[in-house]
């Protein structure tokens, strides 16, 4: 079983026909489906619809006008920079951590796995605060940074750091169980047959883990682009300079420009829907890959 919030891809069994003795009466079944659907519609479908209804509340013209605002574009650019740095870094980290943990034995392995998960249990606000304590004006490195005229907090580097922190475990936690389950016999065989370490990784390991890797990257990216609390603490909320898309949504909302806020929010909602679609697709590809291995 897994503690993960981003679960390892699991097989969705088609409901097999059950005997009458282990099936619920049709009335109960319909009631349970009804309750589940009502809960999902109330908490998930309604908010999803609402974003788009509000975003287009003043017509498509206003919608595109809100999106073409240069301040919005600056926010989009900063979000892309933050995700563009944090996702590849955490991806390299995830691959390294999974390689070391899955292919070798060493002491303190389970402690290391727990420590990798740590950022998930830290409140985003506290994550931001941690970097303020290290890099802020009164922080450990504050005076030194000030003397060298380097700005981290209330500037772009702080936003990137906070984003790296909150998305830290995503790729690693997908890859570690996946690579542990696959063992190392295939890689050892490749080595014995004369493949270099890098060849072994790219030709044997990578094809086996590609869908799991994609899955982790998709979730990592979604969180990187959507992070709010941590980024809010380290951003100076300077319009056009240190505002990411979620921070820009907050500013528009607090300025009572609700339609504008929801228009920009709809971009993030599109991103969420694409994420869910890609994630489901990657899960299915991984099932196909594994199914083939099992029958072969």
């Amino acid at each position: 079983m897994t503690t993960s919030i981003a679960l390892a891809p699991s097989l969705q069994h088609e409901a097999a026909p059950r005997r009458a003795s282990t099936a619920e009466p049709p009335g109960v079944r319909r009631l349970l489906i009804g309750v589940a659907l009502a809960f999902i519609i109330l908490f998930l479908v309604l908010p999803l619809l609402f974003v788009f209804v509000e975003a287009f509340g003043k017509g498509a013209g206003y919608y595109f006008q809100a999106l073409s605002d240069p301040v919005t574009w600056a926010a989009i650019k900063l979000t892309l920079i933050a995700a563009g740095i944090s996702v590849p870094l955490n991806c390299v980290f995830g691959l390294c951590a999974a390689w070391a943990i899955a292919k070798f034995e060493f002491r303190g392995k389970s402690l290391l796995i727990t420590l990798i998960d740590l950022p998930f249990s830290v409140s985003p606000v506290i994550a931001g605060l941690l970097y303020v304590l290290v890099f802020g004006a009164q922080g450990w490195l504050g005076p030194w940074l000030d003397a060298h005229d380097i700005k981290i907090i209330f500037a772009v580097p702080g936003i990137v750091l906070a984003t790296i922190f909150v998305t830290f475990p995503f790729v690693a936690r997908e890859l570690i169980p996946l690579m542990q389950a696959q063992g190392k016999s295939e890689e050892e065989a490749a080595r014995v047959l004369g493949a270099s370490g890098w060849q072994t990784f790219t030709r044997v390991t990578l094809p086996n883990i590609k869908w799991g890797l994609l899955y982790g990257v998709i979730l990592c990216n979604a969180r990187a682009m959507g992070e709010f609390g941590a980024v809010s603490v380290v951003s100076g909320h300077i319009r056009g300079q240190t505002n990411t898309i979620p921070l820009h949504v907050e500013i528009l909302y607090n300025d009572y420009d609700f339609t504008g806020a929801f228009a920009v929010a709809s971009l993030l909602t599109f991103l969420a829907l694409i994420t869910l679609g890609l994630k489901t697709w990657a899960e299915r590809q991984n099932e196909i890959l594994h199914g083939r291995e099992q029958t072969a």
């Binding site: 079983m1 981003a6 809960f39 292919k103 830290v122 506290i126 605060l129 290290v134 991103l271 869910l276």
Partner: protein
């Protein structure tokens, strides 16, 4: 460490152990461990009196009560509905099942700020639901009830996603045995299936509770952030930061971090207990 063959024998075949573990430890230290230690070291520079007056002030205690209470309530609601959703997704066929299955993860994928402004508006006085419940004298947005709604949204996927794989792997023979011994469907569920789901339920509940405890983005819009009334602890930390009261913010952060670590420990213990339980069952 006493047995070099254990290391040489394995480490020689596959390369990159030192490089990958070295990078992992370096990156982990720089990004996570050193900043985390900063919170504890900074808090240690406060005097005991300062620390205590920050973490035990009336405002702080009220924020803990609200954070813990609302998170607990939200996780409880998700416990009940999460089991129903997981059950329906695993056991039944119905129209739109795949879409519902994918949609369950929406709270993970949707940025919290978007969830925040959406829920605040829907449950607000002129929103779709806020307007409908207003004649009943019910106010949701900008009250404690609103915080509870936001935390329920945030915690929704945890229980579904921890219970789902366990339900899928459940051996149908166990249920058949219960039925053939004369148990009705409800007894089978209550006495046979539910106990087998217990570790997953506990894990999912704790994950949802821990997530709700630290949540900020979705709550900040739906809460009016009134001290003693609608101020959860992360909001109080943020308020202190905006007042440049870094000492007070750090003291509260340390309390929250300790709670988070204890919850993480609890989750690991549940996992350990569940896997041991499972093994003795098989033996």
């Amino acid at each position: 460490m006493k047995n070099p063959a254990r290391f040489t024998g394995q480490a020689r075949v596959l390369p990159g152990f030192r490089l990958t573990l070295g990078f992992t430890l370096l990156y982990l230290s720089l990004i996570v461990l050193i900043p985390l230690s900063a919170a504890f070291i900074s808090a240690a520079s406060l005097t005991w009196g300062e620390f205590w007056s920050d973490v035990a002030s009336r405002q702080a205690v009220a924020s803990y009560e609200l954070s813990f209470g609302a998170s607990f309530g939200a996780a409880l609601v998700n416990l009940v509905f999460g089991v129903i959703v997981a059950w329906v997704l695993v056991r039944y066929r119905f129209f739109g099942k795949r879409v519902v299955d994918a949609l369950v993860d929406l709270p993970f994928a949707l940025p919290t700020a978007v969830a925040g402004i959406t829920l605040a508006t829907i449950y607000g006085p002129t929103g779709w639901i806020g307007e409908a419940v207003a004649p009943l004298g019910l106010k949701i947005s900008y009250t404690q009830l609103g915080i509870f709604v936001a935390l329920t949204f945030i915690g929704l996927p945890f229980i579904v996603r921890t219970v789902q794989p366990v339900l899928e792997d459940l051996d149908p023979e166990i249920e058949e045995a219960a039925a053939s011994l004369g148990a009705n469907r409800w007894q089978t569920f209550w006495r046979v299936i539910l106990p087998m789901l217990a570790p997953a339920l506990l894990t999912g509940f704790t994950l949802a509770f821990a997530r709700a405890l630290g949540e900020y983005g979705s709550v900040v819009f739906i809460s009016s952030n009134i001290p003693m009334k609608t101020q959860i602890t992360p909001l109080l930390i943020m308020t202190k930061l905006e007042e440049f009261d870094y000492g007070g913010a750090t003291a509260l952060a340390v309390v929250m971090l300790v709670v988070s670590f204890l919850l993480l420990l609890a989750i690991n213990l549940i996992q350990w207990w569940a896997s041991r339980h499972h093994r003795t069952e098989l033996a």
